[in-house]
C-alpha cells in the first residue's frame, strides 16, 4: 500500500504542474487551450535536443524549454488569440483557434522531430528501495522539483505585481481594466506563463517518460480532467485535481488490475457523477 501511495503522490505532483498552466490561461482569458498538451510535447523536445542531443546541463535544457514556450505563448496570444477575442463575440472561435493550433503543433512536431519515441539519459541514477517502497531517485527529484515549481508559481501569483494584476484580471476583467490594469499586456504574460509551465513540465518529465510526437492530445485530456475535478480557473483546484487524479490512477491500477483496464472507466464514471453533483468542480471559479 505504501508503494501505491508513493506512486499516487508522484503522479499527482507532475499532473498538478501540467494542469496549472491550463487553468491559468482559462482563468485569465476564458480560453480552453486545446494546444496545452502540444506545448508540453514541444517543451519536452526542446529539453531532448538541448540535454539529450547537445549534451548541455539539464538545468540549461529546462530553462531553454521554459523560455522557448514563454516566447511562443506570447506570440500566439499577441498574433492569434488577441485579434480573435477582439473581433469575435463567440467563445467557440477561441476554442476552434486553440484546436487549430494543436493540430498545427502536432504536424510541425512530427515533421521536425520525426515519428519515433525519444528519451534522454537519466538525470540521477539509482533506486531507493526500503523494502516497502521502491522509487528511483530521479522520480523523487522530479516530484520535489514539481512541488517547488508549484510553490514558486503560487508565491509569484500571490505576492508579485504581475501576479496581482493577473489575479485581478481573472476576478473581473472590466473592473481590472477600469483600475488601470493593462489587459492586453497581462493577458499576453498570462498566456505565455501558462505555456511556460507546459514547457517546463514537459522538459522535466522527458527525463522520466521520454517523449514522442502525438502524445499532446492525451496530455491535454488529462489536464482537462484535473481542471474539471478541481474547478476551472482555480489554481488551488488544479493542484487538488492533479493530486486526486494521480492518487485515483495509482489506487485504481493497483486494486482493479485483476479486472482488466477498468481504472479509467471507473474514474470517468465517477467524474460524471461528481460533475452532476458539483458542476463547477471542487473549488469553482473565480479564484483569488
Amino acid at each position: 500500500m505504501e508503494q501505491v501511495i508513493v506512486n499516487g503522490l508522484y503522479l499527482g505532483a507532475q499532473y498538478a504542474l501540467i494542469a496549472l498552466g491550463l487553468t491559468l490561461i482559462f482563468s485569465l482569458m476564458n480560453v480552453l487551450n486545446f494546444a496545452h498538451g502540444q506545448m508540453y510535447v514541444l517543451g519536452a523536445f526542446v529539453t531532448y535536443t538541448v540535454y539529450g542531443q547537445w549534451h548541455l546541463p539539464f538545468v540549461v535544457a529546462l530553462i531553454a524549454s521554459s523560455l522557448t514556450l514563454f516566447a511562443l505563448g506570447a506570440l500566439i496570444e499577441m498574433f492569434l488569440f488577441r485579434p480573435v477575442i477582439r473581433r469575435s463575440k463567440r467563445e467557440e472561435s477561441t476554442m476552434l483557434l486553440a484546436a487549430a493550433i494543436a493540430f498545427l503543433f502536432d504536424a510541425g512536431i512530427l515533421l521536425i522531430f520525426g515519428e519515433k519515441g525519444h528519451g534522454v539519459p537519466k538525470i540521477v541514477r539509482g533506486v531507493l528501495n526500503t523494502g516497502a517502497i521502491i522509487i528511483p531517485y530521479d522520480r523523487i527529484l522530479v516530484a520535489c522539483l514539481a512541488v517547488v515549481f508549484i510553490a514558486v508559481f503560487m508565491a509569484f501569483m500571490q505576492f508579485s505585481r504581475v501576479g496581482r494584476a493577473m489575479r485581478a484580471l481573472a476576478q473581473d476583467r472590466v473592473a481590472a481594466q477600469l483600475m488601470g490594469v493593462n489587459v492586453d499586456r497581462y493577458s499576453m504574460i498570462g498566456f505565455a506563463l501558462g505555456a511556460l509551465l507546459a514547457g517546463l513540465i514537459g522538459g522535466l518529465l522527458v527525463a522520466i517518460t521520454g517523449v514522442s510526437s502525438g502524445i499532446g492530445t492525451a496530455v491535454s485530456t488529462k489536464a482537462f480532467m484535473m481542471v474539471m475535478i478541481g474547478g476551472a480557473g482555480v489554481v488551488g483546484g488544479a493542484i487538488a485535481g492533479g493530486f486526486i487524479l494521480g492518487m485515483l490512477e495509482a489506487v485504481g491500477l493497483s486494486v482493479l488490475h485483476a479486472y482488466g483496464d477498468i481504472t479509467y472507466l471507473v474514474i470517468f464514471a465517477s467524474l460524471m457523477v461528481f460533475l452532476a453533483i458539483r458542476p463547477n468542480g471542487l473549488m469553482g471559479k473565480p479564484w483569488g
Binding site: 508503494q3 501505491v4 506512486n7 499516487g8 508522484y10 503522479l11 507532475q14 539529450g52 502536432d106 504536424a107 512530427l110 520525426g114 515519428e115 519515433k116 519515441g117 525519444h118 528519451g119 534522454v120 539519459p121 537519466k122 533506486v127 528501495n129 521502491i134 522509487i135 528511483p136 522520480r139 518529465l205 522520466i208 517518460t209 521520454g210 514522442s212 510526437s213 502525438g214 502524445i215 492530445t217 492525451a218 496530455v219 485530456t221 490512477e249 495509482a250 491500477l253 493497483s254 488490475h257 485483476a258 479486472y259 482488466g260 483496464d261 479509467y264
Partner: protein, 399 residues
C-alpha cells in the same frame, strides 16, 4: 528601341524556359507511372508504424526510379507511392481505401491495425484491390476472404516460437502479460496466453492493461513485478512505449526476461531505456548485420540519407513493395487484374534480395495459419537487444 530589345530578350528567355520545361516534362514522362497505395497511420502516438511503411516504399521507389524504372512485361514503369494517413481511425481507413479506388490503384500497403484492416475489407473487395495489412485477425486471410495479404509474421506464429525457446534455453516456467487496452495488443495478448498455456507455462498475470497514452508505467507494473514472473511479455507494445515499460519494470526491481512479438527500433530502446533494455527480445525482419545482404545495406543507406535516420521496423516493412512489384514482374497481366495476381501468388518464387543467404526466396505462405497463401514470407528473426543494437537470437520460418 532599347525597350523593344529588352522585351524581345525577355520573351526569348521565357520561351527558352518554357521549351526546356516542356522537354524536361517529356523526358520525365518517358516511363508510365505505376501507382501503389498506402493507407495507414502516420500521425499520433503510433505514427512510427505507418511512417516506416511509407518511407520504406518511398526509398525503394526512389532507388528503382533512379535506376530507370521497373520492367514489368514489355513496359518500364516508374513507381509512384500514393499515401493516406488514416490516423489509426477505421472510418478514415475506409476513406483512404476509397481514395485509392478512385485513383484506379489495385495494390495497397496497410492498414497497420486490426480494426482498420477489417474496416477496409468491403471497399477493397468491391474495387478489386489487394491490400497488405500489418494486422493479425485470421478472418482477413482465411476463405472466403482473399484480397488481404499479411505483411509480417503474426504474433501467434512468433510467440510460441519465442516462449518455447525461452522455456528450453532459459528455464522460463512462469509468464505474465501486459497489454495496451486496444484491439491489437489485447488480441495478441490473448493468443499469447493460449500459446503459453499450450506450452505448459504457468500464466501468473493475463489481465493487466494500460491506456495507450500512458507515459508513466510504474503504477501499471507495480502489481505485476510483485508476482516475479520469469518472463514478462509486452503484448503488441508500440515502439514508443516499450522503453518506458522496460525502464519502469527494471527500476521496480524486476530481474526476469522481457519480450514482445512486435518489431522494435534499437535506437528508441537505447534512448529510452539504455542498458536497462539489454536482453529485451523482439521480432524483426532482415534486421541484423549477420543476415542482411549488400542490397539491404544499400537500402538502409539510401533511407538514412533521404530521411535523416533509419527505422529498424523497415527491416520488415521493406518487403511489401518488393513482393508487389516482383509478383507483377512474374505475371505482367496482374498490373490491372488482381485475379491474375492471386493466381500467381500460389506459385510465385523469387530470390530474396535482402538476405545474404543465396537460397533465401520470396514466396507467399500462410497455408498452416490461414489455409491459403495470404502472407508474405519474411524472415522471423528473433532479436535480443544488447548495447544499443540487435543481435540474432534465432531465425524461424512460417509455412
Amino acid at each position: 528601341m532599347a525597350a523593344q530589345r529588352s522585351t524581345l530578350k525577355i520573351l526569348g528567355v521565357v520561351s527558352a524556359l518554357v521549351a526546356a520545361t516542356a522537354l524536361g516534362n517529356a523526358a520525365l514522362a518517358a516511363n508510365p507511372k505505376l501507382k501503389i497505395g498506402f493507407v495507414g497511420v502516420t500521425s499520433g502516438p503510433a505514427a512510427a508504424w505507418g511512417t516506416s511503411n511509407v518511407r520504406s516504399m518511398q526509398t525503394l521507389a526512389d532507388m528503382w526510379n533512379g535506376a530507370g524504372g521497373v520492367k514489368i512485361g514489355d513496359k518500364t514503369y516508374d513507381i509512384e507511392v500514393v499515401t493516406f494517413d488514416d490516423q489509426k481511425d477505421p472510418k478514415l481507413s475506409i476513406q483512404g481505401m476509397e481514395k485509392m479506388a478512385q485513383q484506379g490503384i489495385h495494390y495497397v500497403v496497410g492498414p497497420n491495425v486490426d480494426d482498420g484492416a477489417a474496416a477496409v475489407r468491403p471497399v477493397a473487395e468491391k474495387n478489386n484491390i489487394i491490400y497488405f495489412p500489418y494486422a493479425f485477425p485470421k478472418t482477413l486471410y482465411q476463405k472466403p476472404a482473399s484480397n488481404a495479404v499479411l505483411g509480417m509474421v503474426a504474433n501467434y506464429q512468433s510467440g510460441p516460437a519465442i516462449y518455447k525457446y525461452l522455456k528450453d534455453n532459459k528455464g522460463v516456467k512462469t509468464i505474465a502479460f501486459v497489454a495496451a487496452n486496444e484491439s491489437d495488443p489485447l488480441s495478441q495478448r490473448d493468443s499469447g496466453v493460449e500459446a503459453a498455456k499450450a506450452l505448459g507455462l504457468k500464466v501468473v498475470a493475463s489481465k493487466d492493461t494500460y491506456a495507450n497514452d500512458t507515459t508513466d508505467f510504474t503504477p501499471v507494473l507495480t502489481p505485476i513485478v510483485a508476482l516475479k514472473p520469469d518472463l514478462l511479455v509486452l503484448s503488441g507494445v508500440a515502439p514508443a512505449n516499450a522503453p518506458l515499460l522496460i525502464r519502469a519494470a527494471r527500476e521496480l526491481g524486476y530481474t526476469g526476461l522481457m519480450s514482445t512479438e512486435t518489431a522494435q527500433d534499437a535506437n528508441v530502446l537505447k534512448e529510452g531505456a539504455g542498458k536497462l533494455a539489454d536482453g529485451f527480445i523482439s521480432v524483426g525482419g532482415a534486421s541484423t548485420p549477420e543476415i542482411r545482404s549488400d542490397q539491404m545495406v544499400k537500402f538502409i543507406d539510401t533511407y538514412t540519407k533521404k530521411f535523416g535516420e533509419y527505422n529498424d521496423e523497415s527491416n520488415t516493412k521493406v518487403y511489401a513493395l518488393e513482393y508487389i512489384v516482383d509478383t507483377l514482374k512474374a505475371n505482367p497481366a496482374a498490373v490491372d487484374n488482381i485475379g491474375e495476381f492471386k493466381k500467381t501468388m500460389d506459385t510465385f518464387s523469387a530470390p530474396n534480395p535482402y538476405l545474404k543467404d543465396a537460397n533465401a526466396r520470396l514466396t507467399y505462405v500462410g497455408m498452416t495459419s490461414f489455409g491459403q497463401k495470404r502472407q508474405l514470407s519474411v524472415p522471423m528473426v528473433v532479436n535480443e537487444y544488447e548495447n544499443g543494437a540487435f543481435k540474432t537470437l534465432f531465425v524461424g520460418h512460417v509455412d
